[in-house]
Amino acid sequence: MNSTLASVKIEQLKSIKWPELIVKTLMPMIGIALFLMVWHAAAPNIKTSLGDFPQPKQVFEQWGNLVDEYTAEQAREAKYYERQDKRNAELIAKDPEAKLDERPFSGRPTFFDKIETSLVTVLSGFLVATIIAIPVGIMIGLSQPLYNAINPLIQLFKPVSPLAWLPLVTLVVSAVYVSDAPMFSKSYIISLLTVSLCSLWPTMLNTAVGVAGVSKDLINVSRVLRLGWFTHVVKIVLPSAIPMMFTGLRISLGIAWMVLIAAEMLSQNPGLGKFVWDEFQNGSSDSLSRICLAILVIGLIGFLLDRTILMLQTYINWDKSAVVR
């Protein structure tokens, strides 16, 4: 009895594929550890005008500082509203008709507010880009003449750097978007449009290729059934273009996030780009560490955005066997 139990246990141990486990969990950790070690060793050798290049430890300390700043700012905000409510209550008590003075708290945006601003800006820019890119992509994918007409423009504008668009967008927005009580700040609109302009091309092209690449057999099925144009597009063309569409969307979102940081730096949209720029202009002893931290956070958010699109893809795509990586 005992011996069989023991043999079962040994079998179980054998069934774990150790090499695979090591490759999947241990290797990434080794990679990260090596990187941190090299960074740690090399940093003191780089002397900058703001002191030595920060080591990993100093960078992670800044995380604590930024969290502290955030909690302090939140406490200030809570107090501000407490005072305002109290004042208003007193006013009401004196005179029920009194005009109340309600103003939103206008504190400094903290690191986490800036992350939020960046996310809102990039997602709205990406949304605008997608709303333009997918219908246009479908149209040029369905019509070869239309594709021939629009393709040169796509090829012309696709490689343009966000830094080249930005001055133009800034001037146009400043001239066109004039309002006494603007719903959005100009810097937000400028960053959003720059992100859209740079990120709509991959989605457009990939959608067009996906739409044009519908299998001939399926087109024949559609012809034999004499499906109408609309049914043909909805039932045959769009589903078969979905994998390519998502490939485009993924590339687009990656570009959007990269462009956003640059756009925020120059348009002064209070997001992560402005955070990096402000620290650069500040030149305090913490600045370098904070910039390093911002870079890590930007990378991490970019990674998470990419994963989100992947999750969406596995959810929407009919081809569950498709390998996503």
Binding site: V224, L225, W318
Partner: protein
Amino acid sequence: MSQIHLELSRVGIEFPTPKGPFCALQNVDLKIKKGEFVSLIGHSGCGKSTVLNIVAGLYQATTGGVMLNGREVNEPGPERAVVFQNHSLLPWLTAYENVELGVKRVFKGRKTKAEMREWIEHNLELVHMTHALHKRPDELSGGMKQRVGIARALAMEPQVLLMDEPFGALDALTRAHLQDSLMEIQNELGNTVIMITHDVDEAVLLSDRIVMMTNGPAATVGEILDVPLARPRNRLELADNAEYNHYRSSVLRFLYEKQKKIESIDAKRAEKKQDKGTAEKSKSVA
């Protein structure tokens, strides 16, 4: 004797190639009666599929034409349903939804929702697929996919059922199984069927008439063989049947004596190149 249902007269087709027009078919004449099961057999590249595609309306004949019930056919339509060789099911729809697509198109306004539902299920039952109504093609085996393809075609209540090597991609056992199913259905519904095949046994077992095609280019109808074997036919009984074997050997003799095909390596290469060329054309937008 029922009258002519489908008629091909002097059908010929030329494809443009860089080296000038290539004549694939010439003077194909064929008269098919209602309820008849006709097989087209011939060596690969002889234009069997081209004939079928012309009847389906997917290709336009360069000369001659196709008449269905006295009216000329020049575009595809659900009254000439096609069962494609590689099933061509929409991979994002379930078996039920694939059949539904055709049914909705054909019976819109003629059947209520409940009737359509019943009709779809009835057709999937005909091909013995009720157990997998809500499975997608990638969850089905090759034979099951082809069954759904047949159900999709049958559900459109076509006047002519066109089958392009429907069992060509299946293993021998599955193929035999599907052939039996097809005979059963044919017995019940009495459809007019044109089937392309390269399998001599399949042709003799299923057909009322076998149309043997000569080798291309400029292929045409070589011989037509009547197969008046009694129905229902049973493959085991027929295996030792002298009449059956006689028909079988006449088809074999046509294919391997009269139309003996020795392809030179150069010709094969050229054919492959041409295939690639057309494949690339269809993807040229990228």
